[in-house]
Amino acid sequence: MGMAAESQFHVLAVDDSIIDRKLIERLLKTSSYQVTTVDSGSKALKFLGLHEDGATNPNTSSVSPNNHQEVEVNLVITDYCMPGMTGYDLLKKIKESSSLKNIPVVIMSSENVPSRISRCLEEGAEEFFLKPVRLSDLNKLGPHMLKTKFKDHNQKREKQEEKAAFQSPKRQEQEEQHQHQQQLLQQQSNNNKRKDIEEGLSPERTRPRYSGITAAV
């Protein structure tokens, strides 16, 4: 029945527009996430404990591999078009960082540019949302954050089990189940990826399927 009582997921939202920061914060809080907002990519990196040149902040603990940042961030959602460091630049820096690369990143943009969308997805963004972002878009975030917790939890479990002398058939079965579940989560999120939307179509916006990136599990 239940998941063990856990603290809420914490989302870091990055946007140079004050209105968009207000909106995304309200949307995220309405979805029961803890939120921190910053107005630039460099502030986002700072918050995550990373200097712009990629070096880890020496003040943050590096003892536990899961806790490089002072405050745990479960997902980064960032605007694409920002002065200085763009959302794409930020995405790259996060994915290039050994301590941060597992944090799911979502990109938002007011412009529907297919090449931009594929570039971001190829660089490792989980989702690409067209602005203005709606509450229904945020429903897609949960699986990405759960997957990371699941993966982290599983990595710990695997380490413990490596201490066992041999693989029992039961464990193989568990691994297969786990992989199957991950595939389901991945499929679900792939089916929900944001697609071509025509500007000017309101209020019903059609969302054709986006065929494309299948990430390896």
């Binding site: 527009s17 004050i18 209105i19 968009d20 207000k22 909106l23 309200r26 949307l27 309405t30 078009c81 002065p83 007011s110 602005k131 203005p132 709606r134 509450l135 309101s202 209020p203």
Partner: protein, 148 residues
């Protein structure tokens, strides 16, 4: 009951803004995010939007006033205003921004001046209507607070 009357007035007024195309459904999304734990949300968003829009329009006027217009600067500011307009549901203002963007892409200074005039007109119209919305929102909150 005065409270119900105020709420109806607000609802009708916003509805008229939808019908005129001044606002689109995105504004409804914003209204939906306001609740008893965030009773001032609409007020805050409108206020932030207006101060930001005025800042940008001022800059647009400034850059368009130069002998040699820096069109890429212009474009960057229009992009911001278009984004904010879209986020708050300011439909006609957003269209006016698209207009300016087009003129800027064409490097057409005169066209830009005309487009900026349209933006200014649409913004002023929007602001005066938003002021009414804010007044109504605040009156409603005042009454609701008194009733508690």
């Amino acid at each position: 009951m005065a409270l119900a009357a105020l709420k109806t007035e607000l609802k009708n007024f916003v509805q008229s803004m939808f019908e005129e195309g001044v606002l689109d459904s995105q504004f409804s999304q914003i209204q939906a995010l306001q609740d008893s734990s965030n009773p001032n949300f609409v007020d805050e968003v409108i206020t932030s939007f207006c101060s930001d829009a005025e800042r940008i329009i001022t800059e647009l006027n400034r850059y368009l006033g130069y002998q040699n217009v820096d069109f890429s600067k212009l474009d960057s500011y229009v992009h911001q205003l278009k984004g904010s307009s879209s986020s708050i549901g300011a439909h006609r203002l957003k269209l006016a921004c698209v207009n300016l963007r087009q003129a800027s892409d064409d490097r057409n200074k005169e066209g830009c001046v005309r487009a900026l005039n349209l933006i200014t007109r649409e913004y002023c119209l929007l602001r005066s209507k938003f002021q009414i919305v804010i007044q109504l929102e605040r009156s409603i909150i005042a009454l609701e607070t008194n009733q508690q």
